[in-house]
């Protein structure tokens, strides 16, 4: 990268099923709190990148209602409709252009209290085809994806239970997560009801309210804003076609393409060795092995072994989602931003009970669309350059 960009500040709300305040207040408190904590004002921010979704906000052009709460009044402002990792990429690219030195990226969702995310996802379905057929909805597509992977690589529901139990145990140690259980076991997961076989309630993301804000800065400004900048070393993004009928759901081609791009930019040739922790965005337990394998964190088809041997545990070979990830909370749009912030926490040694030892390099992943149609991957590091 010619012009380097760092994460210099971050804050998130506690993720909840009902955060209890309206969106503008949630955003104002979050961003004002972050500015105060960093000792800056909105005048220090050159460009604002908002990440939200019209349908999820209950109003079109959602950003026009969010700009004043985040301090963007009369400032340079833009919006990303998809996921937070994509918004951070966009903010980083704006700084790399040389036009700006600082950016505030904010994502939010009230998917816990204001709407049911599955129903919002219905509006992403093709109006003249999928909606006419009336077969697909989000959990159905997730179950189709789960079955495709499980059949191909011989993993069982018990493995899904192990993945979900690990994430809920991690989430219990993360004060910002919505749903955690300290002593979650595979049996506990198996005791929840089937919604869409093979997926049980506890394999699925909880409907979540939450927001996250991240401040980015150029190398020129970063060190004046923090003594612990976390450098964005590489990023990549890729999208599949919309029609699930075109896709082999047992793997994620676009996540792999996105990861390859990010790793090339970051100079990473062996992700499994060079990455110390991963924070990925999964909506269903069955997506974890698919995304991890696309990101090169584990070998292809290794989901069963990873779950059986606990390789993704906080103390494991390749810790995945020490925060609890998508099963701990899934605030749309803020999800990927939280992954970036969690990576920064890990790198800065600020992750408390979910801290992984000696983290230098971390990878954040975000997704959008049915069966993770759109994927973005970002590599973060304590090392500049």
């Amino acid at each position: 990268m010619e012009r380097k960009v760092a994460v210099v500040g971050y804050a998130m709300t506690r993720q909840a099923s009902d955060i209890g305040v309206p969106r503008p207040i949630m955003l104002f408190e979050l961003v004002k709190g972050l500015f105060d904590q960093m000792g800056i004002t909105r005048d220090d921010i050159d460009t604002f990148v908002l990440c939200s979704n019209d349908f999820q906000c209950g109003r079109t052009i959602s950003n026009v209602f969010e700009d004043t709460p985040v301090g963007a009044y009369m400032k340079d402002e833009t919006k990303v409709e998809a996921d937070g990792v994509m918004a951070v990429m966009y903010g980083a690219i704006r700084i790399m252009s040389g036009l700006y030195d600082t950016a505030l990226v904010v994502g939010n969702s009230l998917g816990g209290s204001e709407f049911r995310p599955y129903l919002i996802m219905d509006y992403q379905l093709h109006p003249a085809y999928d909606r006419q057929l009336g077969i697909l909805n989000e959990p159905v597509t997730a179950a189709l994806q789960a079955k495709a992977y499980m059949e191909k690589y011989k993993i069982t529901e018990d493995h899904l239970n192990k993945i979900a139990a690990r994430l809920l145990r991690n989430a219990a140690k993360n004060p910002f997560a919505l749903r955690g259980k300290e002593d979650a076991t595979p049996e506990y997961i198996a005791s929840s009801e089937y919604l869409y076989e093979p997926l049980r309630e506890l394999h699925c993301y909880p409907f979540t309210d939450g927001a996250c804000a991240v401040v980015l800065a150029s190398d020129k400004r970063a060190k004046a804003l923090t003594d612990k900048p976390v450098w964005i070393k590489g990023f990549g993004d890729s999208i599949e076609g919309y029609f699930l009928g075109d896709r082999d759901l047992s793997w994620s081609r676009s996540a792999k393409v996105a990861a390859d791009r990010a790793y090339r930019m970051a100079g990473i040739s062996n992700p499994a060795k060079e990455i110390d922790v991963a924070e990925i965005s999964i909506k269903f337990a069955s997506q974890e092995p698919i995304i991890c394998e696309a990101l090169g964190l584990f070998p292809e088809g290794s989901g069963a072994e990873v779950a059986d041997r606990g390789l993704a545990e906080i103390g494991g070979e390749m810790p995945v989602c020490p925060s609890g990830g998508g099963l701990g909370a899934y605030p749309f749009s803020a999800m990927g931003l939280i992954r970036v912030a969690e990576c920064a926490k890990q790198i800065n040694g600020e992750a408390g009970d979910i801290q992984v030892k000696d983290v230098k390099t971390a990878v954040a992943h975000g997704q959008d669309g049915f069966c993770a149609q759109h994927n973005a991957v970002m590599v973060l590091s304590s090392e500049e350059g």
């Binding site: 129903l119 057929l133 077969i135 909805n137 159905v140």
Partner: protein
């Protein structure tokens, strides 16, 4: 100062029922598929460059990125590529009867379509299972002319 939960908050109910709208559909794709169903035919489009047969057929090849228009008929039988067993509806209400939704690769097609699979016991459904379309008695030329799929 911190806002106290609830003190400043009121909720109002809002809906998204703003308007109905006209959604344009490409005549060679979904309409071709629907029209053909009147004669119990399943029609897609083949890419003359890479040979991919799409059902429903797009006006351009998604991989080659060129316009395509060669009509290709595929069979109304095929193989289950994946399936979901629905125990609840999208709102989370339990269903009286479980529904099996399948992704099906019709013989002659390179892409998959979605359809309901009817069996006595959902445990019998498996990936790789052969299925056949069951048509409604009097097809009208729309996507619902295939009522469901059943095992062969």
């Amino acid at each position: 100062m911190a806002f106290q939960m609830g003190e400043e908050t009121r909720q109002v109910q809002a809906t998204w029922d703003v308007t109905t709208y006209n959604y344009k559909v490409d005549g060679r794709g979904i309409k071709l598929l629907a029209d053909g169903m009147k004669d119990k035919k399943i029609l897609g489009i083949r890419c003359h460059n890479c040979g991919t047969v799409y059902v429903p057929g797009p006006p351009f090849c998604r991989k080659c990125y060129i316009p395509i228009d060669e009509i290709a008929e595929v069979k109304d039988s095929g193989e289950v590529v994946s399936f979901a067993v629905e125990m609840a509806d999208v709102r989370g209400n339990p269903l009286d009867e479980v529904r099996v939704s399948g992704m099906i690769k019709l013989d002659g097609s390179d892409t998959f379509i979605n359809g309901r699979i009817q069996v006595d016991d959902w445990h019998d459904v498996h990936i790789g299972m052969r299925v056949k379309a069951v048509w409604v008695p009097e097809p009208q030329g729309n996507l619902s002319d295939i009522d469901h799929f059943e095992p062969i």
